[in-house]
Amino acid sequence: MHSPVKLSHTSALILQTISQGYCYGFDVMDVTGLPSGTVYPALRRLERDELVQSKWESEALAEGQDRPPRKYYRLTRLGNGTLAGAVKRYPLLEQLTPEAKTRSR
């Protein structure tokens, strides 16, 4: 049903970043170096195309860190498949983003 989605380099980079465990918007910005005016619209498009899924983290987790709950993004099955195709298209993509150590969900 879904035709293969062709990703731009920026969208592929964001998908890769999310897959590495950086699931919050500002974290994606920190890792990729892209401005918020690029990252957030790209996240909206990816969610619209069902490549990522957004959810709100639990209130308890947020209260434990004394901050409001944040929205995080995760790749869907379609997003994983699309990212695999993008990695073949952009071979250096895998090397651009480090895997998250403590920030993953």
Partner: protein, 485 residues
């Protein structure tokens, strides 16, 4: 910054959008405090700038935009904004409604209630409403009723006027030198030392509109060399802004001495009555002076003294009458049940909103129509200039009358096809029944309110006088079908 950016986001997504951004900002702020870095603060501000782009994506997202546009076009606010925009465009396109202002505002003359035109009566063609100049010389001696009287040539002429290298074809009327004195008007621009009538050959006064549009409102225009149809002329002044005479197509008044017209030349006449003198008294007196002068009886009813202000506002009376007739017909239609426009019985507030919208929409439409007719149709008869006739005046009246009928009909039709509860335009027309089988089953068109408030059924063919459209209210059980729209 987030608060301002959130105004761009569509209302239904605004709360969640703001919550997401504020949470990210709060977390980043926390980290910035821990690191105690001032550059972090600048970084947070620059990140917030991206919120505007994100909000714009929400607003300009194609699917949302289409849905929003479709929805917005059905709302009553859209109609009112569209009509107000049309009115504003009309106002600016006409130059701020110069004729309407001239008609409605007090004229820029001294004591305008005593200014009158004097003409003949009992004729159909307005070209004959002018009088022979010999009568003007007789009336000039009439000091009992007239404070002053001035004549002007009946037929304006298109003349090539050149001033300071610029040339333009402008309507020109020859007037007597005491015209401005009779009107009690001061020139906007005038010479420090006025030229005497004896030395004034081809002296001309420009109208404000001609000075502004044809000669770029040149402040030094009085010092420049002028020509009229190739002959030397002298500009001696510019009239004030709202003074236009005898029509607003005339841009130049050519000064002529008193008694410069030949005795039998047809002229128009303006005069100023003495305080306390009525028009009837003036007519009687002027007719008597003609009789005494020519030695023959002269009917009093042959002379008409008409206040200038009434003559200028005369077309509005005709338009008002046409409007009253149209409103009477519309009221009859509503009263008789031919058009059932009563809103649902949801209280006084809903009924008030329903009728307020209908009245506002109709009033705006009629205002646009009136302004367009007054400003852009051939001008109705105002002064006896010999250029307009009753047919022209009637033409404007016919255009307004037909326009009134069309405007009221459109307003009624638009109101009929709106939801009785939310005032939104009904949508999704569906043909029901078989065309031509009216006697066997109901056939017509069904329209539905997008919010699920009700259905409107319009029969294909009227079978009785009563309103062919029937409104059916839907209860809450229908809401799930329309949820998410």
């Amino acid at each position: 910054m987030l608060h301002v950016a959130s105004w761009i986001v569509p209302r239904r997504a605004r709360a969640e959008w703001r919550k997401e951004w504020e949470a990210e900002l709060a977390c980043a702020w926390q980290m910035a405090h821990q690191e105690s870095s001032s550059s972090r603060n600048r970084g947070l501000r620059s990140r917030c700038c991206g919120a505007f782009l994100d909000a714009a994506w929400y607003r300009l997202n194609r699917e949302d935009l289409l849905r929003t546009r479709e929805h917005w076009a059905r709302t009553p606010a859209f109609v009112l904004y569209a009509l107000i925009t049309m009115l504003l465009l009309l106002v600016s396109g006409s130059g701020y409604l110069p004729r309407m202002r001239s008609i409605l505002m007090a004229p820029p003359y001294g004591a305008p209630e005593r200014m009158v035109t004097i003409s003949r009566t009992g004729v159909i063609d307005s070209a004959d409403w002018v009088v022979p100049y010999s009568w003007v010389t007789i009336w000039r001696r009439q000091r009992q009723v007239l404070e002053g009287v001035a004549a002007y040539s009946a037929q304006p002429q298109e003349s090539l006027v050149g001033i300071g290298g610029q040339r333009s074809k402008i309507g020109l009327v020859q007037v007597e030198t005491n015209l401005l004195q009779v009107f009690g008007v001061k020139l906007l621009l005038s010479r420090a030392f006025p030229l005497s009538p004896a030395s004034c050959h081809n002296c001309l006064v420009l109208s404000y509109q001609a000075w502004r549009h044809d000669f770029a409102a040149d402040p030094n225009i009085l010092q420049k060399k002028a020509t009229i149809n190739g002959q030397d002329a002298t500009v001696i002044g510019v009239l004030p802004e709202r003074f236009w005479f005898p029509t607003d197509d005339v841009g130049v008044l050519l000064w002529g001495e008193e008694n410069s017209f030949s005795a039998d030349k047809p002229v128009g006449v303006v005069a100023r009555l003495r305080p306390g003198v009525t028009e009837r008294q003036a007519e009687s007196n002027l007719a008597r002076s003609i009789s005494n002068s020519i030695g023959e009886p002269f009917s009093e009813s042959a002379i008409q003294v008409w206040p200038l202000q009434e003559r200028v506002r005369q077309p509005l009376t005709s338009y008002g009458l046409a409007l009253c007739v149209s409103l009477l017909v519309m009221t009859t239609l509503l009263w008789s049940g031919r058009m059932n426009l009563l809103p649902q019985r949801r209280g006084a507030g809903a009924a008030c909103r329903w009728w307020t919208f209908f009245a506002s929409k109709t009033a705006l439409l009629l205002l646009i129509l009136l302004a367009a007719v007054v400003e852009f149709t051939p001008e109705p008869y105002i002064f006896p200039s010999g250029r307009t006739t009753l047919i022209v005046e009637s033409g404007s009246l016919w255009i307004f009358s037909v326009g009134c009928v069309f405007v009221l009909w459109w307003s009624l039709m638009d109101q009929q096809r709106r939801c009785r509860a939310c005032l939104e335009k009904l949508a999704l027309p569906a043909q029901i029944g078989r065309s031509g089988c009216l006697l066997l089953s109901w056939a017509g068109t069904e329209l539905v309110c997008a919010q699920g408030h009700g259905l409107l059924h319009i029969t294909e063919t009227d079978v009785c006088w009563l309103d062919p459209a029937q409104w059916t209210q839907l209860d809450e059980s229908w809401e799930p079908l329309f949820a998410g729209k």
